[in-house]
Assembly symmetry: C2
Homo-oligomer: 738 residues x 2
């Protein structure tokens, strides 16, 4: 075993994260859950959420068993795959599921307690909600790094190779555990997304529109399902999504680092390059915890002040991480440490810029959303047209930001070696730089995910306060907390999409490393380039592989792959949109049935059958998530078998580019419609109940699946397609060889 002592900082940081998460959890649990009524409602939501999670984990278990058996077949019978893959796959899925379970459990315990704390003061409410959200953030990063550390230790003990090749094998093997996290995230995001919006749309269509009762009214049978939905979609789904990005970026960068320095034969430098992303992530955890403690506010804080309260935490963490990066990379004495540090900074900065741009396009303090609200005066059609227009235009800034980040991260990592910018050596360094930029962006995840998970907790606290008929002062405070959550939800989505794109890019780069390992695994030790030159696989550069597989833009297989990738994003979105539509329809029918058959619901004399609505949403989500999920797994495999490595690379690039742009468009259109409605509810353009308001309610309802189902699911699609391709790399090369 040959593990440098500095590595142990990584598992240590993960234990610290889990320790703080546990402490926050215990402290939250010690708070009072309020009145009998509050406890009862929270109990309903908790039971519903756990019932959903149990059901989902059942389905997921079946899928995992089937896939693990398939991987075992490929590894042990067909002999085209690394023997560790089935196990790595299972642990990745298990840890991701565990993180979702803990996060959601905490969130469902926290909502009533937040409402109760808000009875005392705004700051207390904020702190209970935010620190409960931080449990999710810390559990995700803690379990993620724990899984990474464990595998790093295990593989260091068992991998039978030496020199530069050993680390290459270790890191490419570890990368496959991301497939487990990806699969788990797929079901969490898609299932959760369908659940939450089926319940939301169903509750709104019958409750608000037909029966004319307000949001979160206990007379609405779907209201508990709606609150459950916030937890399963926005807590568990978002958590699994970012767990995957987090692990994926660290693992892909480690693999790129191992590859970048493999040719030099300098194993020590290679080890440092592998450890760098892990250490940045580890230090990011510790500094995120400091940021979490800085979040506090005072009574009567305005929206701007509340935003600043969260901003202080995130910004202080970011600045500290930036500073720490220079120190870590300097101490690691990694080649071109200064340039690589700047690569990390570009990632960090890109995350912040995308967040700001998202806020501009979705917050009603700015012109775009105000314009959508104003267009409500000419009816729902113009609201939809202008919302789609704004969403499409809003894609420019994030794409340019990511583009600039890619180029800068590359240039910094290669030390601006403009004369040989694309030499084989600089290419691997540059790709490593892009990977480490992704790690930089995600290094603040401990606290950024806390601000995300905070949102649904505050939302549920508001729901609880409404249903428990707490006083107007409490309701006012929970409303303020909820409004804050809406803004952080929008910026959080921008962050999730941006990090997914960078992570997918890092995965794309490491795909070629997996192809290399796959070739070696099946005994192919040399490749012949088109010009006749021979290269040993072990020594072949990325540029050689590009030539060998002719992964250039004139290869029709690449072009067809790009087309299919672009189409996959749209198809996946279309399927999830329709899934929400269908699931919402069953919900509408059930709510109508209850209003009709259970007498006295609307007068408050009878209690609706909440559990049944929860069950319907659960069943709908489970049924509807299968087809799109299957497609996301099967298509990359099929493209690999039909069109080979060139086709797969095309597929991934096509899916990544249009999936990223489509996801930004959908998230921002949805967010802008939501806030345009809120702007009118605050009394503008005729206020609540006006025709203009009704028009924006239509926009908001359309926006629901945009921003909470289809858009976020694309994050998973672009990462999962890369992961599937990576895991199937061995099969792809073997298939086309024999």
């Amino acid at each position: 075993m040959n593990i440098p002592s500095i590595f142990w900082l990584v598992p240590a940081a993960s234990v610290v994260a889990l320790g703080f998460a546990y402490a926050f959890y215990r402290k939250m649990k010690r708070q009072s859950e309020g009145t009998e009524r509050m406890r009862e409602i929270a109990g309903h939501v908790r039971a519903g959420a756990m019932a959903y999670l149990r059901q989902q984990y059942k389905v997921v278990t079946v899928v995992f068993v089937v896939l693990a058996l398939f991987f075992a077949y490929l590894a042990y019978v067909a002999g085209v795959q690394n023997p560790w893959v089935p196990f790595a796959f299972l642990t990745g899925g298990f840890f991701s599921g565990l993180a979702g379970f803990f996060g959601m459990k905490t969130a469902t315990y926290a909502s009533a307690r937040t409402a109760h704390a808000a009875q005392q003061s705004l700051d207390r409410g904020l702190r209970v909600a935010f620190r409960s959200g931080a449990v999710m953030g810390l559990v995700v990063v803690g379990l993620g790094l724990l899984d990474i550390s464990l595998w790093y230790i295990v593989l260091n003990c068992f991998v039978d190779a030496s020199g530069a090749q050993k680390l290459v094998i270790i890191t490419t093997t570890m990368l496959t555990f991301g497939m487990g996290a990806s699969t788990q995230a797929l079901f969490a995001r898609v299932g959760g997304g369908i659940y939450t919006k089926a319940a939301d749309v169903g509750a709104d269509l019958v409750g608000k529109v037909e029966a004319g009762i307000p949001e979160d009214d206990p007379r609405n049978p779907a209201t508990i399902a709606d609150n459950v939905g916030d937890n399963v979609g926005d807590v568990a789904g978002m958590g699994a999504d970012l767990y995957e990005s987090y692990c994926g970026s660290v693992l892909a960068t480690a693999a790129l680092g191992a590859a970048a320095f493999a040719a030099t034969g300098d194993v020590e430098m290679q080890t440092r390059a592998v450890l760098a992303p892990m250490l940045i992530a580890a230090v990011g955890i510790l500094l995120s915890i400091i940021g979490i403690f800085l979040v506090r506010t005072k009574e009567g804080a305005t929206m701007r002040q509340l935003l600043r309260a969260l901003g202080v935490g995130v910004n202080v963490s970011s600045v500290l991480i930036a500073a720490a990066t220079f120190i870590i990379l300097y101490l690691l004495d990694i080649q071109n440490w200064l340039g690589l540090s700047f690569s990390v900074i570009t990632g960090l900065a890109a995350g912040i810029i995308i967040g700001q741009a998202t806020e501009y396009y979705t917050s009603h303090t700015y012109r775009p959303t105000q314009k959508i609200a104003r267009s409500g005066q000419t009816g729902p059609a113009t609201v939809i047209i202008s919302g789609i227009g704004v969403g499409m235009i809003s894609t420019a800034v994030p794409v340019i930001t990511i583009g600039v980040a890619i180029i800068l991260a590359y240039l910094c990592a290669t030390g601006f070696d403009m004369a040989h910018l694309m030499s084989a050596h600089n290419l691997s360094l540059g790709l490593y730089g892009i990977g480490i930029a992704a790690v930089g962006m995600l290094s603040t995840l401990g606290i950024t995910l806390a601000t995300d998970a905070y949102g649904p907790i505050a939302d549920n606290a508001g729901g609880n306060a409404e249903m428990s008929k707490l006083g107007p002062e409490v309701r006012r405070r929970t409303d303020a907390l909820d409004a804050l959550g809406n803004t952080t939800a929008a910026t959080g989505k921008g962050f999730a999409i941006g990090s997914a794109a960078l992570t997918a890019l890092a995965l794309l780069a490491s795909y070629i490393e997996e192809i290399k390992i796959g070739l070696l695994h099946i005994g192919q030790t040399a490749i012949t380039l088109p010009d006749g030159a021979e290269r040993l696989v072990q020594e072949a550069s990325i540029v050689d592989f590009m030539e060998f597989y002719q992964i250039n833009l004139m290869n029709p297989l690449v072009l067809v792959g790009v087309f299919i990738g672009a189409m996959m994003s749209f198809l996946f979105c279309g399927l999830t949109m329709n899934a929400v539509g269908r699931a919402a329809e069953s919900m509408v029918e059930e709510v109508r049935r209850q209003f009709r058959e259970i007498k006295g619901i609307l007068t408050g004399e009878a209690t609706p059958d909440y559990a049944r609505c929860v069950a319907i949403s659960t069943r709908g989500a489970q049924r509807e998530m299968l087809l799109p999920s299957l497609l996301a797994i099967v298509v990359p495999v099929a493209v690999g078998l039909l069109f080979g490595v060139a086709g797969v690379m095309g597929l991934l690039v096509g899916g990544l580019s249009s999936g990223f742009v489509l996801a930004v468009f959908m998230a921002n259109s949805g967010g802008a419609w939501d806030n345009a409605k809120k702007l009118i509810e605050e009394g503008n353009f005729g206020g609540k109940g006006s025709e203009c308001h009704k028009a924006t309610v239509v926009g908001d309802t359309v926006g629901d699946p945009f921003k909470d189902t289809s858009g976020p699911s694309l994050n998973i699609l672009i990462k999962l397609m890369s992961m599937v391709s990576i895991v199937m790399a061995g099969l792809t090369v073997a298939w086309h060889l024999f």
Copy 2:
């Protein structure tokens, strides 16, 4: 001069096309235009359409003069460009504009005559409308081939080179005249698209929704503008779009043919390869004319019978062209003539399949559109959600069709040489095959464009009949003709998008040829590959250029280019969506003002000020088209200067893939919403005036800019970005060299 005698078939066919167009036009003009009132209304529409065209041509002239001067500067002062470009650019634009002018003039003369003919019988109405549409079809293909023929003759006389190089220079020079057609098409499609939907949405929002008067009611001040819009958007815009595809595919394929056989030194074979696409197009014209004569129907024909009447014409033409292709290529004695013939067939077949798929997803005789109509029962939000879902799912078939067509065309052209599928020789043959598949798809344009241009003529005839208060029997006949037009409009859009994608692909392939010429032009005669090998530019293969510029999927410049390309599609769409919104708002204000200020409009005692609405739509369209148009021209140049050839190739592939998918999605969602509304108006789900109907009217209004502005404009974007890159190839290589 060395022009083989078979070439003269090309100008001959173009003269025949123009001759038949003139004959159809004369015959149509001899028909009676009906009553005084009918003539008056047709006069208003004609005056408005011509006023718009004059205004547009003024703007376009300014743009053309500026661009031509810029090209002249690049050619004569900077010396980085072919000296013929400014002239080729101007003739391309001039002929395209001429085709638009003739087509629209015919259409505006034909509408009242169609209404009058429909007073006699359905067949007479169909024939007047269809043969007038055929004028547009024949003028487009006739002028297109005329321009191509003239330049071929001129350049053959003047180009000072010999052997294989001469044809390479001729064809790459001719390709740049596509830039003129592209620029003209840009303004026609974008301006026309904004015009027609601003008028339509404006007329509907105030007329139908606020004042409660029916469609095409003469009391609505915007009704003439609405009818003008059909002509400027759907006749002139569609015509310019397909003129560009037609010329672009023939020219790109000729350039690819010249390149494919340049290395062999067999100038005779090279000449045949250059002539093949022109001859297929020429024969396509003659056989389209036969098809046009076959379109006829009988009284009381059902929708299905009417569709079959058109189908007979198109299908007979297609089959004849398929058969003729084998004969032409056999007689030309071109290498692998049988394989290339099958490449042509794949293109023909792909066009038909995409048309069928479009019909399935947008016609209300099938489930998807019926489902959208049904979702109207739960309000406008679910209509929008399900329409977007259907549109996104509908992208799968066209993408897979184009993908299969690309692969098959490539394989057929290379004679299924699986062992050396991607050798330099096979690559150029295969790309030639893809180009000739595009030519195959577009060879039926004479008749397919006739079925497209027929739509707005029938639509206007219906409007004329309504405004002239002709009897219910006439109105019933024009309604039948109009409904047929709606279906052909949807399938026509699918055809336009599919052919744009294939054409853009052919242009992409010929971009590398332009780069080659650009390098030679600035005196760079050799390139050094990454492995150190030297290649003479003149002899370097496409594969060499891919390696030289490292146009592979791991090059960050390529990746960033792909991202920007994907983003451009969305940004362009978003800008045009917003443009329609803004222009429609001015229209709404004007119509409201007229209702308010001109007393007696609604009682029919006063005539509204139609001209003012026409002027407002015209001004709005001209103002709003500038920003997106400028962007489409500037971005490829900027990417070329910043990121070089690799970045440009990325941009084109990213824009092409996501632009194609996005265009299909928008066109099909829009078409499905339109027909969902029609299904309800036929008495289903509550019929006209029900809540369900109102919900689908919202869908239809949203769909208007989807299917008639933003979606079709993407066709132009993907072709124009390629054209700009091709014309700027010289500047790009010079910039990065010095």
